[in-house]
C-alpha cells in the first residue's frame, strides 16, 4: 500500500496547526517537513533540512517572510525557498540556485495536504462542503496506517446533534487505502465523519477526522471532546495490537543532491544577457509624480529568489533593454515590483514603459542579478537615495527593518509628491528621513552632516544621479570613510566613452587571442568568438560583465568599480573599458 502512497495527497497538518509565526514539524512516509505559514497566508512545505549542514528547519525561526536556520542564520524566502542571505559572507549575494526542496501544499477540509510526487488532486469527498466543517484533534498513533484504517471501521460515534445517545446506526459510506467515511444516524440526526489517516512512517500514523458539522455548532467543544475520547481509546487498542506485531523497518527518504555547481566553491557567475522569464504587468500605478510602479507577476510557476539590491533586465516591446531594481521587501516573493521614472529625453525606454505597457501585458525579463549586495554585519547602515535611486535602497531598508538592524534612509527628492512608494516608506517609520527641494549646495551641506561621524563597521549605500553620487563619494572620503564601506550604484554611466584605441585581448581559460579594434567593445569581440559572457546595462554601470584581469593595464571607463578597485587593476567592465597596454589577459 505504501508503495503507491507517494503519488497521493495526504494531510500533514490541520490548518490550525499553522498559527502566526510558527514552524510545524510534519512527516509523511518517513520524510520530514518544516511547514510554515508566511504573514501573507502562503503555506510553505519544505524538506526539513537546511541545505547547508542538514539542520532541521522545524527548529528555525519564521519571521513572517522568511525562515531562518538556527545554526548559521541562513535565510530562505517564502514560496521559493531560495536562500536570500548567508551571514558568514555578508558581502556576497548567495548563488540564487541555493534553493531548498519544496513540496506542493493545498489547504482543504481544514487540513493541510501535501504530496511527494502527486498525480491528480486532493481526494474529493462527497458531503464535505468547505466552510461548514469541524476538524477533530489529530490523533498520532504508533501503528501502521493500514492497521489504523482497518480498525476505524469499528469506530462508533453519535451524530453531532444527538450526542447523548449511544445507539447511533453507523454505516461505511466510502473507504480507500488511507481514508474512511462513516455515517452516524440517530433519530433524525445524522453526521458524516471522514477519517484521513496520514502515513507518517511505516509504523506511525495520524488519524485526522473531519465532520460535516458547522464549525460554530453550539456543542462544538463537547463534540470535539467526545471524539477525542473515543479516538484515544481506539488508539490504545490499535497500539496494543501493533506492539504485538514485528515492528516494520522505518522508511528512509532519499535526499536530492545539490547541483554540481553548488558542491564546489566558488559559485558560478551569472548568466548571459537572456530574458528567460515571462511576467505579466499585474498592476501599474503612479508610485510618485513622474514615476510609474509596475507589479510583475509570473505567467506560471514561481519567480526566482531575489536579494535586496538586485535588478532585472526588462525587455521592452520596442526592443530596448533596461535595468530596474526590485523594490520588494523580504518574503514578498509572488511578484517583483519596480519603479520607472519618466525621462522625456531618454532613448525611449522609460517612454515605452510609461506609455505602451498596460496592466495585463506580458514582458520578458531576466532573472534577478545582484551586483549591489547588502551587507548585514554593519553596526549601522546609512542609505542615501537621490530621486529614482530610491529603488534598490528601499528593498535594502525593508530587509534591515525586518531583521531589526540599525539603519537610516535619507531620501533626497524635489518635493513630497516625488517621494516614491509612499506605502513602503511608511513601514520604515522614523528610520526614513526625507530631504525635499534642496539645491545642489544645500544637498552637499546635508551630505557633509550625514557623513560626519564615521565609526568602524558602518556602511553607506548610495544610489542617485551621477553628480550627487560623485559629491557624496568625495565627501565620504574626506570624512574618513574607507572605500570598502562606501557602496554605490549608478543608474547610468554619463562618462563619454572613448573607444578609439585598439589592442589585443587574450582569454586565458578559453585559450583565445582576439583583436579589439577601435569602435568595438571587448564584450562584443569575445561574444563573437563564441564565448558566453553575461551582461546587462552595457554602459559600465551595473557590474554584470565584470572580468578578472590577469595581466595588462585596464583603461577603466565604467562607474561600477570604486577608485581603489580601479587602481588595483584586477577587474574590468568588458562592455566599456579598454586597455592601456597593447595586450590584456583576462580570466575568461
Amino acid at each position: 500500500m505504501l508503495d503507491t502512497a507517494k503519488t497521493r495527497w495526504h494531510p500533514i497538518a490541520a490548518s490550525h496547526d499553522l498559527p502566526f509565526r510558527h514552524v510545524f514539524h510534519a512527516q509523511l512516509l518517513g520524510r520530514e517537513f518544516a511547514v510554515w505559514r508566511a504573514d501573507d497566508g502562503y503555506v510553505n512545505v519544505w524538506e526539513n533540512r537546511c541545505l547547508h549542514r542538514g539542520v532541521r528547519l522545524s527548529i528555525g525561526i519564521n519571521d513572517g517572510r522568511e525562515l531562518k536556520c538556527q545554526y548559521h542564520g541562513w535565510r530562505y524566502a517564502n514560496r521559493t525557498a531560495g536562500c536570500t542571505y548567508i551571514p558568514a559572507h555578508p558581502a556576497d549575494a548567495p548563488a540564487r540556485t541555493i534553493t531548498n526542496r519544496t513540496f506542493p501544499a493545498i489547504e482543504r477540509y481544514g487540513l493541510v495536504w501535501a504530496a511527494e510526487e502527486p498525480l491528480g488532486g486532493v481526494p474529493e469527498v462527497e458531503g464535505l462542503a468547505e466552510g461548514s466543517l469541524l476538524a477533530l484533534r489529530g490523533i498520532p498513533v504508533n501503528a501502521p496506517a493500514d492497521l489504523a484504517v482497518e480498525r476505524l471501521r469499528g469506530y462508533r460515534f453519535q451524530p453531532s446533534d444527538a450526542l447523548d445517545g449511544n445507539a447511533a446506526e453507523i454505516s461505511i459510506e466510502a473507504a480507500s487505502a488511507f481514508s474512511l467515511a462513516l455515517h452516524a444516524r440517530s433519530g433524525g440526526a445524522e453526521t458524516l465523519a471522514v477519517f484521513f489517516v496520514q502515513p507518517v512512517d511505516s509504523g506511525r500514523a495520524v488519524i485526522r477526522g473531519v465532520l460535516d458539522t458547522a464549525e460554530d455548532h453550539p456543542a462544538r467543544l463537547a463534540i470535539l471532546r467526545r471524539h477525542n475520547e473515543a479516538l484515544s481509546k481506539l488508539r490504545e487498542a490499535i497500539e496494543r495490537e501493533a506492539a504485538a506485531m514485528p515492528a516494520p523497518t522505518p522508511l528512509t527518504p532519499e535526499f536530492q543532491r545539490v547541483s554540481p555547481e553548488l558542491a564546489e566553491m566558488p559559485a558560478l557567475s551569472a548568466d548571459a544577457r537572456k530574458a528567460p522569464l515571462r511576467v505579466q504587468a499585474a498592476r501599474k500605478w503612479q508610485a510618485a509624480e513622474g514615476i510609474a510602479g509596475f507589479e510583475l507577476r509570473p505567467i506560471s510557476g514561481l519567480l526566482p529568489t531575489f536579494q535586496p539590491g538586485a535588478h532585472i533586465d526588462v525587455h521592452m516591446p520596442n526592443g530596448l533593454i533596461r535595468q530596474y531594481s526590485i523594490v520588494n521587501g523580504p518574503g514578498e516573493t509572488d511578484s517583483y515590483s519596480i519603479g520607472v521614472k519618466f525621462e522625456p529625453d531618454s532613448r525611449g525606454g522609460s517612454a515605452a514603459m510609461h506609455e505602451s505597457v498596460r496592466e495585463g501585458d506580458v514582458l520578458a525579463i531576466s532573472e534577478p542579478r545582484n551586483n549591489f549586495p547588502l551587507r548585514r554585519d554593519a553596526v549601522k547602515t546609512l542609505f542615501i537615495a537621490g530621486g529614482i535611486g530610491i529603488t534598490p535602497l528601499i528593498a535594502m531598508a525593508q530587509a534591515l527593518q525586518n531583521q531589526a538592524l540599525a539603519f537610516e534612509l535619507h531620501y533626497f527628492a524635489q518635493s513630497q509628491a516625488q517621494l516614491a512608494f509612499p506605502d513602503r516608506l511608511e513601514t520604515l517609520g522614523p528610520a526614513l528621513v526625507p530631504h525635499r527641494g534642496l539645491s545642489p549646495a544645500e544637498t552637499a551641506a546635508k551630505l557633509r552632516e550625514l557623513l560626519a561621524g564615521y565609526r568602524n563597521a558602518m556602511h553607506v549605500y548610495l544610489c542617485g544621479p551621477g553628480p550627487m553620487l560623485e559629491a557624496a563619494r568625495a565627501i565620504a572620503a574626506e570624512a574618513g570613510w574607507p572605500e570598502g564601506a562606501v557602496h554605490f550604484e549608478y543608474f547610468k554611466n554619463t562618462n563619454e566613452i572613448d573607444d578609439s584605441t585598439s589592442f589585443e585581448v587574450a582569454l586565458a581559460r578559453s585559450c583565445l587571442t582576439l583583436q579589439v579594434p577601435a569602435g568595438r567593445t571587448i564584450l562584443e569581440v569575445v561574444r563573437e568568438a563564441g564565448v558566453e559572457m553575461p551582461s546587462s546595462c552595457e554602459q559600465g554601470a551595473c557590474g554584470t560583465c565584470m572580468a578578472t584581469v590577469i595581466e595588462g593595464e585596464p583603461d577603466h571607463q565604467d562607474v561600477y568599480l570604486n577608485d581603489a578597485e580601479k587602481r588595483a587593476g584586477t577587474k574590468i567592465m568588458t562592455c566599456v573599458s579598454r586597455s592601456k597596454s597593447p595586450r590584456l589577459v583576462l580570466d575568461i
Binding site: 532541521r56 542564520g73 559572507h89 535526499f255 554540481p260 558542491a263 554585519d377 538592524l405
Partner: protein, 302 residues
Amino acid sequence: MTTQPKCTDPVILNLWHPLAAVSETSVGTVMDTVLLEERVSYAVGSDGTVAAWRSRADLPAGSRVDAGSIAEQLPSKSAYGYVWTTLGDAPAELFPIPEFEEPDRRRLNAATMGVNVSAPRAIENFLDMGHFPYVHTDILGAEPHTEVKEYDVEISAERDEILATRCRFYQPMASTASTEGADVDYIYRVPHPYCSVLYKSSPVDDKRLDVIAIFLQPMDQEHVRAHMMLCVLDEDNEDKIIKRFQQTIFGQDKPILENQFPKRLPLDPRAETPIRADKSAIAYRRWLSQKGVTYGVIPAAA
C-alpha cells in the same frame, strides 16, 4: 581468544579512542563504557597505570581490581588526562599536543557528555566559526558581526592532519581590559578522525595560546561520548568556573548536533552546500574520504 569486532572499518578500529577522564575514575575500581558497539571496562591504579579490557562477567562494574593484574587486556595508555584504548591495532603513539606538558597550564576535563550524533558531525561543528553569533550568542559571537574572513587550510602530509590557520572571528567583550569586541585568533588541528584541537589567543599572554580539545569516543555510529579537554593559562578561576563555561558552550551546540540530518556525515560533495567559510569542513570530508573511513559517515557513491 579471537573476537570479531562489531566495527568493520579498519581505519577507525585501528585508532586509539578515549574512554574517560583519569581524574573522574575512582582508583582500583572497575568502570564500564561502550566503544564501537562493544562493552569495554577500564580501571586506573593508584600509581596512575591504566588498563582496559572487553567487559566480562567476573569483573563487573564497581568491583575492586588491581589494574596491573588483569588478564587479556586491550592495549591502553594514559594521555592528556584520559584513558585511551583500541579494539584493533593502533600505532604506538597518539598525536602530539606539546602544550600539554607546559607546567604553568591548567589541565582539566570540562566534562564528558553523551550526544546523539556521529563523531564526524561533532568534529565538523567544532571546526565551524560561522555559527558563533547564532548558537553562542553574546559569548563567542554576536550579530551583526557574522562574517567568516578568509583563512588557510592545509592537509599536512607529513603529520597526516588538517590544519586551519589565520582564522579570526569577532568576539564580543574579547578582552578583560575593555568592553569592546575584537577579532580573536584561532588555529584548528584535526590530527585524528574523531579528535580536534583548538588554539585560541590567550588574554593573559599575547605570545601563547589556550588549548581546547574535543576527543570523541564513538559508542556507535550515531552516538558519542564527547570528552572536552582544557589546557589553559588561567591563575584566577576555580576549576568549576572554567568547566561551567565550556559546558555552557557545548550545551548550546548539542541541540544543533542532535537536529542534524542525517546523523552520519555525508561525504558526497553534493549532499550539502558548502560555502567558503566551510573550507576546513571541506578538507575534513575529503580527508575522511581519502582515508577510506566508513564508520560514522555516509561514504560518497563510488
